[in-house]
Amino acid sequence: MDLSEIKKALTLDELEEIRVKLLGKKGIITQKFKELKNLAPEERKRVAKELNELKERATTLILQKKKELEEKLLEEKLKLEKIDVTLFNPKPTGAIHPITDTMNKIIDFFTRLNFSVETGPLVEDDFHNFEALNLPKYHPARDMQDTFYFNDGNLLRTHTSPVQIRTMLSQKPPIRMISPGAVFRRDYDLTHTPMFHQVEGLVVDKKEKVSFANLKFILESFLVHMFGDVKVRFRPSFFPFTEPSAEVDISCIFCKGEGCRVCSYTGWLEVLGCGVVDPNVFKAVGYNDVSGYAFGLGVERFAMLLNKINDLRIMYEGDIRLMEQLK
């Protein structure tokens, strides 16, 4: 018997018609089963076997074909649902400010090395901001022009260092802290804003324990963490609150130390100030027989270098043109 019709069916309806024609109540095969009773027993057995085989083959073929046609139907349906996926590229939405982002990276490095984070008020007094940091009232390094004062004699902190003093006064050594935050200087031009951000670090431990070599270790590790594969250079310098003091440079990340406009053709970028804590600072907070190091850095400087931003003021204008690049 010819079952090739099944394979030719184009739709599920056609297939159903064929199924009814073959296997329905009045179908050809069903009919043939009914006729079996008219055959001689021997003959009946043989034909019955053949019919059973035929029925099974037809059923299998129909099922196969059904599955095939259903797949085809689904494919056609899905094809109609096709969209142009290339239309849906997302637009930039939101970004953390580069200063915050940089500050977070700095904080993370030090907290992972078991530093605590401390903060203090922006409005400070003379003692915490100057006097206790070995900057007596008439010290030449204390440039009056640089400081914002209030009518009641208080001032806006000129660095995050007063937090060192506050922490030393409220806690006991060993101290391992950083202090991030806003600081203020009376300066407003291309490279200065009256407010900017610093992160300060201080480590105090027993006498003769903390050395300049320790400071060198942590800052080298830190700068490589922040800037990748850079050379680090320490230059002796002066800060009233540390002795010995140093400024720290990294090899220029733009020209790899070859010399370019950004590094003023020196091959180096100044990024940090640091030193061994001056004994007068410990004296001011009543600490005896201790040793320590301190360091401080400008977050804007880091943010500008890490993001290749060359205008400081744009960072304070909520400028989406700047921030959408950080999406």
């Binding site: 004062y149 300049f212 989406i320 959408e324």
Partner: protein, 748 residues
Amino acid sequence: MKITRRWLEEFIDLDGISTDKIITTLNKIGQEVEGYEKIEVPENVVVGEVIECHKHPNADKLNVCRVNVGDDELQIVCGADNVAAGQFVPVAKIGAELGDFKIKKAKLRGIESFGMICAAREIGLPDFHDGILVLDNSLGELKIGEYVGKYLNDEVIELGVTANRGDCFSVYGIARELRAGLGRKLKSLNFEYHTMPEGIGRIISVKQNQVKHSSHLIKAINGKIVDKLKIKYRLALVDEEFKDSFDSYIKYAMHATGVLLVGGNISDIYLTNKDGVDVFGCESGEYLVGIKNSLEVEDNGRYLINANFADADYVNEIAFIKGLKGDEYFFRASRGSNPDLRFGLEYVLNELKIPAYSGDIDVSTDFEKTILSVDINSVTNIIGFRINEKDIVEILKSLGFEILSISDNFIKVKVPEFRNDIKNIQDIAEEILRIYGIDKIPSKPLEFVEKDRTNEVLKELDFERELKLRAVANGFYEAIHFVFDNKERLQKYGFEVLDEHLDLLNPIAKELNTLRSTILLQLLDDVKRNKANGYKRVYLFSSGSVYDKNRNEKKSIAFVVNGWSDYENPSNQGKPKKVDFKFLVDKLGAIIGEFELRENNAYPLAHPYQNAKIIKNNQEIGVIAKLHPKIAKDFDLDDVYFAEIDLEKLKPSKKEVGEIIKFPKVTRDLSVVVDKGLSYKDVYDIICKLEIDELKEFYPIDIYDLGDKNSLTIRFIIQANKTLKDEEINSIMDKILKALEDRGIKLR
């Protein structure tokens, strides 16, 4: 502070050492080089002698000169009015290139010119004189025809001398540093000047002699001052100003030696202490020692020069106490000037070459000498590395320390008098470290005892960081602002301002004349700016300190939205909906978590009828509102919605997960008719009061106008620890409906 290489070489032997090496060394030992400039006269500019000079026949302002340039005699037309026969001048010969200008044979008003007589600025030098540059022998014996650069080429190094190193504010001071840094010897200088037999005591009488904090060494001279090219040229290279010829010598010697020098005319003098301040005075004025010089000097050929020194601590303290504003003398003295008075005085006499009266007036005060005992173990502990005794001794010697004794790890030293900054062992450790070289010190990790250092500050920082990340994920950009704002503007918009006695004394600009009490105005500035830059969707947030009238600091976070609620895309046919109240509420909910809104009365900036208090954990934490259209107009903006929240009240709430109820939730809607003046909060409160345990949640889903009343549809979510039967659900709904009806709210 600037120095020049050739000037430096007067004091130290730098043969065979490149300027690069000098710069590297200075940086390495803590004298930061901030600038470098090579001064180079162009080629083919040679020394010429003006043999003849007469007026140009056809031009009043031109001269025709005959100039001997060694291998030739040139006719040159020169426009300068100071040109004269007998002068030695720089001549740019034909072919010389002065910047972009190439010297060629020229004809000026009919007369041929074969070169140019130059001014300093024309040959790449500082502009420090009028007319043409007249050369003299002060920078080396002039040879006609010689390249002018041989006399004038130099290299200028600019140093950022730190405030503690007054001894380095001079060429000699830097030479001294290089002695230690390069291991080179200082040159021994021979000062020569003519001394007259007449003694100084015969012409100057000292009236008083009572200075307490300063030393003075005074000489008198008699003769005519002759200008010297070297002096004026070098002062120009290092940006030092002077009043007249005599002053140029004084400033030159001060810059060279670091010794404070003041000049005067020969007259009776007095040295006294007025009200605590040391004063040197004569006929023509007074000098407050180490603070301010107001002596006038007349050009009469009879001069006195006072080399002086005052203790830096005294100078700083007295100037501060008396409120005296100092000049350049104060700058030097307050940081520590050179106490070697004879050196400074003889240096200037040697340059002046004017006969001096014999003897001098010497008024000395004894200053304390610092003797320190250097414990090598302490130095090792400070540096974290052991430098051997021999090296330490060598370093200290090269810095001018006198070694008094050495024994068992202790070196007793006398600190040089010019180093007023060295007072203790850490100062000495710094000297040893910087000369030995920081790069030779191996880095060493610190060993410490571990400790839990996660404090409240860190938790708050982490919370703030999380908030910011959520804001960003909700499409906001972070802005950072100064904590300053304009007081008048804050007042105009009804914000709190600092009490006058707590306000800024010296603001940097009028726009930044006080501390802000809100972040919102700055955010509105930003919205305006971004809108002007073409942004149609501006969502910003900012956090930071704000201040009340008593200057109490508080941390605040503020949000603003303006423009479209989505970006333009095919789904909205390029016309996204504008942001509205609900838009900001939803964003805020996604950022700070669940909160409740209550009607707000007046709030600065707010639209009077779209203005709400934000309530979280039963306390008011901030405000959310539409910007008042009148104010929006001030900022050239249309619809803006804002929120400002007290960060300190937005502490992270403890979240706990309870057991999950596995029985099905049932939803029922109820539509009621409410008065128009009624707020949803009133309905909410009525239902809440019922305290129905099974009522998990309910919220408004529709509101519409029925004319004189509104229809409000509320959805109720009911769930219990069992499957609720219909009767049970109905009884809950009946209870709610009854409570509403008791308050006159009927089913629609």
